[in-house]
Symmetry: C2
Subunit: 475 residues, 2 copies
């Protein structure tokens, strides 16, 4: 496909191509559209377009399909695996959704909302809150990531345990397909068995099968009473037992159950991040438990009962229960600053993995030994324990730096950890996706029959290979 594309290489100065586009959508290409947060990928250039409408997007896709030039959809730019930045030539059309950020409608009585793809996640959350509803997708980047990107990557975050991933939060989509046709699938239905699950397929396809332009999203009643606690646990095994105990007690009232390591808490202090865990001494392991309950319930009492039951079972031995919204927010602020502290320390390699819940203790026991053969490291393993999703990040020892290690160390560390994950039948990409960073990992760890089916689907829907070339599958 790339060979075919070189017949008509795109140049931003190519007036013939620009002339085919709707007026007023070409923008100066600022460097930020060619960069990504982790610095692994650098875009080589291209033509930046900022469509105002679905019709504009369709016109761009039709022009690109005719000229056989690649299109890279661009949301908030917060992705961690390079799905939004295409290096190499020929340079693509970079299509930013930032001008399509309207909330098209809100139906509180149906618990539904329709947002355009460029709406910032926090704006979607606010539109739901304005009608006393909850849009539960919540992640660190929510102030800048866009709902279209959240859906294209099937984003996860802290509330998946209760409400599901982005895919589960979406009722319908409007998508411009690779031939420029528009799928008008913005239904607000809970049940709709009229054909293949194109909605599910487009979600998580990272822009390789079409461009999501709008989505119909599920809202929920806002929990009347919320509460949070930080509890010190003896071990990851004890954390899992406490999770089961909390689930049995409050059932669906359990909104989040996050594992926090002592290493992560020490990084907060080491890097000058203002947040601190209100625990002394710093424990090896703690869990942040968040509840959302009905009007008649008492979250503090429920959390106290969970703690007492955990104490009686020898699972917990210290902790704090938030007694105000401000204290709850402070606990979450501490949790959310851990990635920032990680960034300041500087990871050699970061791994967004998931495991069957029961495998997690053995996995965490094994991680230090599988990387020990490669060098001396500090490991910060934390994340969404309730979903079996951990972020296992590997850092130089105190006083060390990434530059002390050979250039291929990232690949070697990642290989050791992903091999371990595969042995437990886990996933090398739980919530961040494949992007360009993990294309080789998908080749190595993905199921061969599934990979063949993916290639067949890609070739069927995007025969020219113009949609986000090189993401998900090698170009």
């Amino acid at each position: 496909m790339l060979a075919a594309m070189t017949r008509t290489p795109l140049n931003p100065a190519d007036d013939a191509f620009v002339a085919r586009l709707p007026d007023g959508i070409v923008r100066p290409l600022e460097p930020r559209y060619l960069e990504e947060r982790r610095g692994f990928f650098k875009g080589a250039g291209g033509l930046l377009v900022a469509p105002r409408s679905t019709e504009d997007v369709a016109a761009v896709v039709r022009a690109a399909a005719e000229a056989r030039v690649g299109i890279v959809p661009y949301g908030g730019g917060t992705g961690l695996v390079g799905g939004q930045v295409m290096p190499g030539h020929p340079a693509p059309v970079i299509l930013t959704l930032e001008r399509m950020r309207r909330i098209r409608g809100v139906w509180p009585e149906e618990n539904a909302l329709v947002a355009e793809a460029g709406a910032v996640l926090a704006e979607v959350q606010a539109a739901a809150a304005a009608v006393d509803r909850l849009f539960p997708l919540s992640l660190g980047a929510e102030g800048s990531c866009q709902i279209g990107g959240n859906l294209a990557t099937n984003a996860g975050g802290v509330n998946v345990l209760r409400y599901g991933n982005a895919r589960e939060l979406c009722l319908g989509l409007e998508v411009v397909l690779p031939d420029g046709s528009v799928w008008h699938g913005l239904k607000r239905l809970r049940k709709d068995n009229t054909g293949y699950d194109l909605r599910g397929l487009m979600i998580g396809a990272e822009g390789t099968l079409g461009i999501i332009t709008a989505a119909s999203l599920r809202l929920f009643p806002r929990p009347a009473r919320q509460g949070a606690a930080l509890m010190v646990v003896e071990s990851p095994r004890a954390a899992l037992d406490l999770l089961a105990l909390a689930g049995a007690r409050v059932g669906p009232g359990l909104s989040a159950f996050e594992l926090i390591s002592g290493q992560g808490l020490r990084f907060l202090a080491d890097t000058g991040c203002p947040a601190r865990a209100p625990l002394d001494p710093v424990p090896d392991w703690a869990v942040l438990i968040d509840l959302g309950l009905g009007a008649e319930a008492d979250p503090e009492a429920e959390l106290a009962a969970i703690y007492e039951a955990g104490d009686a079972a020898g699972l917990v031995h210290d902790g704090v229960i938030a007694t105000s919204g401000a204290q709850r927010a402070a606990l979450w602020e501490m949790r959310e600053q851990i990635p920032e502290a990680n960034k300041r320390i500087g990871a050699i390699s970061s791994h967004d993995i998931s495991l069957p819940l029961s495998a997690i203790p053995e996995f965490l026991d094994a991680v230090p030994s599988v990387v020990a053969g490669l060098g001396r490291f500090r490991i910060n393993a934390f994340g969404h324990l309730g979903d079996g999703n951990l972020h296992v990040n590997v850092f130089p020892p105190e006083g060390g730096a990434r530059s002390d290690y050979p250039a291929d160390m990232r690949a070697r560390v990642a290989g050791a950890i992903y091999d371990l994950v595969a042995g437990f039948d886990g996933s090398f990409s739980a919530e961040h996706g494949i992007g360009r960073l993990k294309v080789g990992d998908l080749q190595r760890y993905g199921d061969p029959a599934k990979r063949a089916a993916m290639r067949a689907i890609k070739a069927a829907l995007d025969p020219q290979g113009i949609m986000n070339p090189g993401a998900m599958l090698s170009a």
Copy 2:
């Protein structure tokens, strides 16, 4: 594709084909494999095979792919749209999953279970209950339908409001693809963003893209306290307001919210079904509310509070709250017998539709007038109001019979109702699927861009068109 298939028409007496199959899987073809409950379709014959293993299924698919013969996967045979019965020639291989019904494993601490496709839904429910967990998929046919068929049709049922459709209850799949390769995707992970959502695509594809041989399923803690009530509501609008009120009060504790019409209750009496609603006089509209709450909660008190709030708001004016498990079961028995009563009366046309919640009152108001032009009818509209999914069934007037109507009446009634549904942006198939009955409806009411994408996906994964030919898409 059918033209190509006629080159090597399959005959059960064709020794050359049978010789390619694993030993011991060919069975005598009993008539029940060629019939379906509603009598719209009658299979023309074929070769019945009952594989014992995934390897057997793969061998059958490889042989069929080489010989270009169609394969119809057969589960419990309870589908309502003819997906399991292929009329016409050449006759297919009918592949029943009934010998593959093992529960391969149960992981209560992970809330997960792996079942083979032929496991009867009630067996899956029982395997979960045996470890004090809930597998929440529940529908009238649960004593005979199979989990593979439930997934192939993305089954719904009474607990979708709380737990989602079959698709949301599935973590992973094992599937034999149309080339005979096996996708080993039985992961027990809550988050796994490693490529396109093949799981979601296979679920609801009705056997047209592959044969599901096993599934990894989500379990849930069993609600500690359950309760149910039947409440008389003033109107469908009042029912919706009561739904909102109940949702605000008990949030995710609301397990089901079913609408029941006076016509349905009168049918129970007219047809001698033993179940009765404990209400006198028979109301025009009632709702069955089911709660599943934590150990500390009191379902009867919650239901009483919902009733009182509904009474204060002028929404309800009579009702009963179950005060024992037996009373709760009796209310559900009454609900579950309504389809049996419908069958005894004999519908002219049945419609499994869904609507945006807010459109339901106006829709139900309009139904009698849109069918009135076609003749005199009785209408029983009932179902899963909480999901916006109603079963709208049209019957002859008292003393009348189906045979009083012209042969094309079913199509005319369905057309009038589906046109009305389409006007409200609803769906003509909420939970039953397309099968063979609604292939034309999908042509008429489906989105053209989505239909084109479906055809491209079908051609890419099943280029010879051997998988359940004529289901979902015309052959």
